[in-house]
Symmetry: D4
Subunit: 226 residues, 8 copies
């Protein structure tokens, strides 16, 4: 029984390549998925895969001469995402620029997931990590190089204030990503999520830790017909 | 003591006029706010004001000859929003088109709030209410006239499925607004909110019943520099 | 002290064999349970037992010549369920057909639990896994071979939309099983559970991850007197 | 703008007539809905409408000679549901029998909603209200006359134990409806809902106070092809 | 039976006069309490009493010549607090100055409660209401006149960001009071509460709407021995 | 159809007379219940009935000469409970003594419910209301007259500390009743409930506002066979 | 610095020996506690200690000749509790008998904790484990030998129905202990807790998994003065 | 890319040195942070770092001769905090005294975090751990040596009663820190948090386990200008 259904039509319909959620999938299952995707579209993007699983898969694949001849791998050392492509896969450049900010260093894993997706969608990410809120003066220089982005992805855990503050300072849409990093009442990301939703200055909120969703929304915003 | 601080600078900074939340404000308080705004910017937009308070305020204002000479009022019969403008206030047309869909007839109040804000921002709203999910075939004709919108605002209560379904069918950003309409586990809007956040196809989510925020995001998306 | 009370009467009363919850039971405890059940009814069904415990138990039992002579084992490689029967145990065929659908590949463990129970109840399961919602067009071919089932079990995590969508397309009862797979607001299965309960099109909902309960309900529905 | 979309196709597709949720709809809105439904299918069923609104609508309609000539009304004194039909509307009898039990007298409103829907679907309801759990001996005589029902709808508030207890005693599917009646930890129906979901003996659970959904499921179970 | 126990000793022990919670007390009950307190300490402070109850009580008392001869009343037009004192009651001046800020005009009721308590404790309140967060530039002029306060009470509803922002700008303790004003995920004050607790810059948080507690803490901070 | 099933057997089985929950029952429904109980056992006890409903029922009954000849009524001015008995009903005295304490004056309604039930069970209640926790020194004199009670019922809202404190001071069982009185995080009684459950010194906890349950437990404890 | 304060006075005041919570304490810390208690009262009772920690401590102590000469140890193989006593410690017999029931075999760890505490308090426990609710007929024989107990401790996880059912059948107090065993909506014990609190038949509820608290309450109930 | 932004200005602005949250940071990341801080301010304070990570970092650093020549390390054996300073770093003494109390021995880790921060801020901590609430008489001797502190930090898990009790006995501000230690309804610290917030006697509450925030608030209170 073949249980993986690659939605090749989706890319045509929505313009977004399907992405595989690595979490809670076994290595065997992931290898099947990789093969299936590479055969169908020449590229596979796996998020939330973890450093250990990434390493195990790469060890297996890169010892396979056949594989190495045809494909190349790109991965993120923080385990945020793994991308495998046939050597002749060409990524269309879009010219879109998108900003990514994080409130703390622990949110970077989510930021890197967003960045990888944006790259695969042909966009350029302008990033600045750890701008915090405790020292709001750190925010202004971080926004400087983002003058011509079409939107800003802002990732924050604990009390999740940063996206609302940024939204009060810029004139492009702000996409808020609550991060599950934190402790006490801030653990798991719910406090950050609720803050972003209740923000006086409108923020486009996505699920906790959902770097992928933020990237896709940013891409959709950038390509809005003009 | 003057306790209302009209943020006139905000319009310049973010391009979005400040909007007054009518809920839990007394009629006296609202009349002060109205005067303050009209003096400063020639327009005041009040949301979540309710039919009874709207009527009371209009009764007071429209019996005042001075007022009637200088200002005109626009309001929504469902109590979604009240707009008062000096007669010479000119609304810039932007040419932006934005779609608005609701899952049920009870969600229309939120939709009308979004529509009023969009209108005041110079945008055109293409609306279709009560497309449901129980009969998904009703969705396709509703999307037809939205072919050239820059985003779609989708409002849904109870289980809040509609935004995710729409997001799987269109290539522009979908802004999901959970509605507090519903009963049992669906009352208050949390079930709808969580569904939209957890949706497989990315949705830009705003607070429960937040038609205003959805409109502002839609406007920001439409004007993204090209 | 004998602390396991095999409810042999239950099978007669409700027509459903008692099933053992493997979770949080020690191997010693499970071996006692297995012996007790095999002595009383010639069959034991253990769910939520995990691959490691399953393996440990099978290693012990299959090295026992006495055991191997009298009993045979059936288990699911995903650890969903373990069935042990005396060699002369005969499973009555009922001729009932039941559909099983999952939204994602991670929900398959729950589906396999339901499938094992249905098999032990003498039913045939028509399965299709990973039909998703992001690509709703994948749903129609999956429903094709289910034309003569008496109900459909639909398993979905994250936002749990699939059961409600299926219920709008078929005329048999849909049994919704929320799956705990997911992250952020979707982790633990509550978002999926609430979506299924609040669904506009009625769904018969069972506990998160409860493949067993779904199978029993499907069986009860199929055998309704005519 | 016509904002009510009567899903006439749904009846054909799923065999279930569309039902209108009366809650939070204005009298004007409901009159539009009624007209629309009567014109299209000759019948309208409105649930969760309340005694006051029912009375207001009946007062208006029954003073209209035209209306009285063509239509007849049926309503429930507890405000559970209002049914209006053209005089020549013929309800198909199905011969299906379904049981309805409530734990307390306060749950009867929900039971009556289910009963009205079942009647409109051509089914017969065998009811027994207030069987409690405090005195479990009251349960057995209540189950006596339900010997040939195809399923039992069990409605319970507070701790919601009754459906699980009934499910341990009968061999047909039990549909559990948590009721929002109760106080303290039992108010709003969540405690009852969680009890039914976590029940050891499988129960098909629907949303809190959802008599309509329970009735539709019971009907779907009864008509399962044989 | 005398059921009110005036804790006269408390004032001596902790230096804080006992305050009566007016909410859910009948007018009869409140009149008993007032008499009891005036007899024992010459002053009674009632919070959360509401405009209607305040008016009813004042109407009764001020028509009583005996009462008017001996006592004077002070109340807040927003129903935040009612104070009654014997004419010879002398409030000690402490010379302490405390700042009070609110994020929105709807939070003023809580601010006024805090201000009344501070006044009765002999402190001076420096207040600025409606400084918002959407326009953070409004915050700096509001902080100017607070240069010599010993702490700042900051009241905010919805997402409750303001206290954390203020705490990053001043060097005195910030006392955060979540306000129950808001809608959707921000209603009831939990989102604001969690934001303040999870704030990166430490905030001393009190219960939702607890203007009284904030005032007492501010007073205790001001009088810390030096 | 007779829908009220008086569980006359219960009194024999558990020794506790059945009690009617007045809340959400119509006056008509309550009159039926009263008649049914008086005919069967000569006494009816109705809790959570409210002052308005109590008054309406008493007005009806006491204008009925037949009724007045045969029955007498006892009710609590706070609407906590209504008791109606035939004139020849004799309440057995048990000699049991039980203590009742409340933390605040707003908790008295619950205390009076418990007291009425205890009286009907033939017990004597030793009560002291408003002992607070803010002034723990008020507790000791309140406990003095409770030296020979068999248990203490302690009712507290807000943070619900009192039962745990009392349990550390006495050697009889303490029954904790969380009260729904309070505001902010303390509203609805959950904070008080969780405090009592998590108390280091064991407390027997019942549902929020459940004075009836506390009284029955106290009675069961008092009559434990010796 | 000596940080352990043995509350020797407590035993005198409340008649209950202090018990040590083993959870999250290091082995070093526990050895200090043990020494402190043995020196002061000749006995130490440690609950929630786990099998691994118990073994580590026993290995250390039983290799110490000095220790073995003076003390003896009693522990529960399920890690429920560890008791160490000087050899001449004499446990007073009280003659009290208390019943303990569990709904499932996974709840036995909690039951054993209660049983150990009761034994140390000089009581006799009459136990029956795994009586379930799915088969209520298993309950009656389990209650037979409990005819002369002074209360019944009933432990149940998942939906926690058993204590309420037992309370409807016996005339002594029932102490309900929710167990954290379960999955989905039943995991962590909240569903069981809420069921017990909302039970129609009064149950004395303690914290989730709190076998200790249940035992102390049962003891306090048994010794109520007569 | 340099992603760590040391907020050197913050110390000047608020008088509080920035502190690093060790949790979920890799050893490599922490070494970068340490270097960055030592270069900029001569001191780094890391909280919530854990014993294992602390040990790994110290092993690396102390084997580095260069490091040992210039810096000295101070750490807490419970993993509460790690401080590294250049040998010539001089900590200003403030003369401020602050009290720290814990309810149980498991809360000491949080207390030690607060104590380390206070020490680095030049304050003296007067500590007493394990004063409990079960035996309130243990509290009075613990408060004795705290007569001249400017505030008391009180840490409590489970039901979190202690801060409110202390606040009723002292005349300085009490800072309540809920601790995540506990089980059942008390696990994770929410019950303790809600108790402290709802306390009748005002308590300044910080996030669960937030020893750092409590220390900073205590320091800010102590230095209030006089």
């Amino acid at each position: 029984m073949n249980i993986i259904k690659h939605d090749t039509d989706r890319e045509r319909r929505c313009g977004i390549p399907e992405v595989v959620l690595g979490e809670r999938k076994s290595i065997e299952n992931l290898l099947d998925v990789i093969k299936n995707f590479l055969d169908n579209s020449g590229r596979v993007i796996i998020t939330r895969i973890g450093q250990k699983t990434t390493k195990a898969i790469l060890d297996l694949l890169e010892n396979d001469e056949n594989f190495k001849e045809k494909y190349r791998t790109e991965y993120n050392s923080r385990g945020a995402a793994l991308v495998i492509k046939s050597k002749d896969f060409v990524r269309q450049k879009t010219g879109y620029k998108i900003g990514i900010l994080t409130a703390g260093t622990s949110d970077i894993r989510i930021a890197e997931e967003a960045k990888t997706i944006l790259k695969e969608l042909g966009c350029e990410a302008v990033v600045d990590y750890d701008v915090g809120v405790a020292g709001i003066h750190r925010l202004f220089p971080a926004l400087e190089p983002m003058k011509d982005v079409s939107s800003v992805i802002v990732i924050a855990g604990m009390e999740g204030t940063l996206p609302g503050v940024v939204a009060g300072l810029v004139d492009v849409p702000v996409i808020g990503v609550p991060s599950s990093v934190g402790y006490g009442i801030g653990s798991g990301g719910r406090a950050a999520l609720f803050t972003m939703l209740a923000s006086c200055t409108p923020v486009a909120v996505v699920n906790i830790d959902n770097g992928y969703g933020a990237a896709v929304l940013a891409y959709q915003i950038a390509r809005v017909k003009k």
